[in-house]
Amino acid sequence: MAVSSVPFASPAPQLAARERRLALAGAAFAAPAALLLVAILLAPLIVLVLLSVTDYRLGAVAVRFVGLANYAEMFSDPVFRRAIRNTFLYVAFVLPAGVFGGLALAALVHARKRTRSLYEVIYFLPVTSTLVAMATVWQFLLHPSLGPVTPLLAALGFGRLDLLNDPDLALATLALIGLWQLLGFNMVLFLAGLSAVPRDLYEAAALDGAAGAVDRFLRVTWPMLGPTTMFVTITTTISAFKVFDTVVVLTRGGPLGATDTLLYVLYLEGFHYFRTGYAAAMTVVLLAFLCLLSLLQARLIERRVHYA
C-alpha cells in the first residue's frame, strides 16, 4: 500500500497544474479579441452614453453637462421625427413585401427542376453587387430625361414621373430599390427552409386529405417554415431599418426631407454638423431599437417556433 500511495497521490497537483496551464492558454488566446472588444465596442459605448448627456461639439473647448436635454430635443425635433416616420414607413413597405415576396419566389423556384439554379443566380445577383454602384445605375435608369423608366411609365399611362424628385414617390422608390436588393436574399433563406421540410409530411397530409395547395401550405409548409420566417422577418427589419446607401447616393434626404431616414440624419448630425452630443443621444436611441428587436427575436424563437 505504501508503495502505491505515491503514484496515487501525485495526480491531484498534476491535474491542477494542467488545468492552470489550460486556463492560461485560454486567457492568452482570448486576450487580443478581448482587448479589441474593449477598444472597439465597450469603451466607445461608455463614451457614447456619456457624450449623449453633454452639449459636446467636435472641436469645442468647453463641454457642459445637459442631462437629458439632447433626448428631449430629439423628440421635438421635426427633422428627427420625420426621419423616424420615414424609416418606419420604409420598413412598413419593405418588410411585408420582402418577406412574402421572398416566400412566394421561393415557392415558385422550389417547384422548378431544371431552371431552379438559373433563377437562384438571377435573383441573388443584386445581393452580391455593390449597392452604391448599382444605385448610380438606378439613378440613371430613373433619370427623367435620360433613363428608360420615365418614358416606359408614360407609355403605360402614368404620366411623366420623376420618381426620385417627387416628394410623394421618392421614399417608395427607395423602398423598391431596397426590395430589389433584398428579395434574392430572402428567397434563398426560404428555399433552404423549404428543402428542409420532410417529404413524409406532405405525403401524410395527402393521405389525411390535405391534398390541395391551400391545405398543404396551411397544414405543412407554413408551420414548418416558422423558424425561417422568424429569421427572415428580423433580418429584413434590421436591414430595412438601416437604410442609408441609397439615400446618400440618390436623394440626400430630399426632396424636402421626404427621404430623411434615421441613419442619414444621424450621419449628418454627427459627421457634417458635428453636433456630437446630440448625435450620441440619437445613437443611443438607435441602439435601444436594435436591442429591442434582438430581444424580440430571441423571445419569439424560444416560445413559438421550436418543434424539435
Binding site: P198, D200, L201, E203, A204, A205, A206, L207, D208, G209, A210, A211, G212, V214, D215, L218, R219, V220, P223, M224, G226, H306, Y307, A308
Partner: protein, 397 residues
C-alpha cells in the same frame, strides 16, 4: 359494407414501375384478402416500399391496376382511396398537439375549405359542432391506444414508442379499409419493438381490417403475418403463410432469406435413379433429374442432429467442429463437413440436446451429424424446390 371473406381487400394486377432506367417493380400481381395481415418482406431495394406507396397513391405505377375493396383506385388521389398509412418516420405534424394530429384526417373530411382557413374558420356556426364530434372520436382512439394523457403534448415531447402510437392513432381514427405500414418499428429499440409487435398483432385481431405491412425484418414478418409476400428485385418470390415460407420454400432464394441462422447449402449431383450423393452417402429423393444434373441441397440448422437415441438412424455425415456459440436456450455449432471442399455448416441444438451430447462424448471431433427429414430441401438447377416423394425419403442406403 363488404362481407369479409368473399370480398377483395387489395388486388394488384401487372404493377410495374421504373425510376429513370432502373426497374423497381416488374409486372407484379398480388391479391390481398380482406382482413388479413399481409407482410411485404424483402431486402432493401426489393421494391416493397415502392409497392406500398403505389397502393397508397403516393407513387404512380407505370402500368397495372390497383383495386381496393373491389373497385379500381388508380385515378383516385391518396385521400380518396380509403387507406391510411403509418410512415417509418411517423411523419407527425410537429407544430400540432397529439390531438391536432389525430384530428387532422377527420377535419379534412368533415370541414369545408372555408372552415379550415385561419380566422375565417371561426365564422362557421357548424364548425364548433363538427369539431366536438371529431374530438370525441379522437379521445376514443386515444383511449384505445392508451395515449389519452398525451393529447395536449407536441410530438417533440413524446418518446419513440409514444410517437409510434400517435402515428397509429392518426391512421385508425378514420377507420380506413386498409392500413399501410412502412417499417413502423424500425425506429424503436429492440425491447420496445417486441412489445409493439404484440400490440400490432392484437390491434389487427381487434379491428379485423386489412393490414399491409412492409419490413425487411423476417422476425416481424413471421410473428405477425397471416401471409407473407417475399420480394426480391421487383418480383414476388413466394406468397404464403409463415409456415409455408419456412417449411415449404418455393425456391433456394426463399429458403436462404427465411430462417436465422441461415440454412446450409451444399452443391450435389443427381444419381439418375431419384437420389443424390453427399460424399459416401446417398440420399434417395424420388426426383426425376438425369444423372449428373447439378442440384442444391438446403439443410436448416435444426435438421442436423447428433446421434442421440432415436435420432441415431438417419443418413449421417462426418464433420469437424470449428466453434460453438452458447445462446442460452440453444447452441449453434459452426462446423466443416467432411465433404470435398470442406463446406461450412451451422448446426442448431437445444440446450438439452447439447448437454446430453456433451455427456455422451458426441461433441468430440470428428462429429457425426444425422440428417432429419424435416428441414432438408432439394432445389433443382433453376433454383425451384423439388417436392420429395414420401415413398422414398425414409429409405437410407
Amino acid at each position: 359494407m363488404t362481407d369479409g371473406e368473399s370480398a377483395d381487400g387489395v388486388r394488384l394486377t401487372g404493377i410495374a414501375k421504373s425510376f429513370g432506367g432502373t426497374r423497381v417493380l416488374a409486372g407484379l400481381d398480388l391479391a390481398v384478402r380482406a382482413g388479413e395481415f399481409l407482410t411485404l418482406l424483402g431486402p432493401s431495394g426489393c421494391g416493397k416500399s415502392t409497392l406500398l406507396r403505389i397502393i397508397a397513391g403516393l407513387e404512380r405505377q407505370d402500368c397495372g391496376t390497383v383495386s381496393i375493396a373491389g373497385r379500381p383506385v388508380d385515378h383516385l388521389p391518396p385521400a380518396e382511396r380509403d387507406v391510411a398509412m403509418v410512415f417509418q418516420s411517423y411523419a407527425l405534424y410537429p407544430h400540432m398537439t397529439v390531438a391536432g394530429n389525430l384530428a387532422t384526417p377527420l377535419e379534412m373530411r368533415r370541414l369545408t375549405l372555408l372552415e379550415r382557413l385561419p380566422l375565417i374558420k371561426h365564422l362557421s356556426p357548424r364548425r364548433a359542432r363538427v369539431m366536438r364530434g371529431i374530438m370525441a372520436e379522437v379521445r376514443a382512439v386515444a383511449e384505445a391506444l392508451r395515449i389519452e394523457a398525451l393529447l395536449d403534448r407536441k410530438p417533440a415531447q413524446l418518446s419513440g414508442g409514444q410517437r409510434q402510437r400517435v402515428a397509429l392513432g392518426r391512421a385508425m381514427v378514420r377507420h380506413p379499409a386498409v392500413f399501410l405500414m412502412d417499417e413502423p418499428l424500425s425506429n424503436l429499440d429492440a425491447a420496445l419493438r417486441v412489445e409493439v409487435r404484440h400490440e400490432l398483432a392484437d390491434l389487427h385481431a381487434r379491428l379485423g381490417t386489412t393490414f399491409i405491412y412492409v419490413t425487411h425484418d423476417q422476425v416481424e414478418a413471421m410473428t405477425m403475418s397471416s401471409r407473407i409476400a417475399l420480394m426480391d428485385q421487383g418480383r414476388i418470390l413466394q406468397l404464403g403463410t409463415p409456415d409455408d415460407l419456412y417449411d415449404r420454400p418455393a425456391s433456394l432464394a426463399v429458403a436462404r432469406f427465411i430462417g436465422s441462422p441461415s440454412l446450409t447449402v451444399l452443391e450435389t449431383v443427381a444419381d439418375g435413379v431419384g437420389g443424390i450423393r453427399l460424399g459416401a452417402v446417398r440420399l434417395p429423393f424420388g426426383h426425376r433429374f438425369a444423372a449428373g444434373t447439378r442440384l442444391s441441397l438446403g439443410i436448416r440448422p435444426e435438421a442436423f442432429a447428433l446421434p442421440l437415441g432415436p435420432e441415431a438412424d438417419g443418413p449421417a455425415l462426418a464433420a469437424r467442429l470449428v466453434r460453438a456459440e452458447n445462446l442460452g436456450a440453444e447452441w449453434h455449432l459452426h462446423v466443416r463437413l467432411d465433404l470435398p471442399g470442406e463446406p461450412p455448416a451451422i448446426v442448431r441444438l437445444t440446450a438439452a440436446e447439447h448437454e446430453a451430447a456433451r455427456a455422451s462424448g458426441l461433441l468430440e471431433d470428428p462429429l457425426t451429424l444425422v440428417l432429419r427429414a424435416r428441414g432438408v430441401h432439394l432445389f433443382g438447377p433453376d433454383g425451384a424446390r423439388v417436392e420429395p416423394d414420401p415413398a422414398h425419403t425414409a429409405v437410407v442406403e
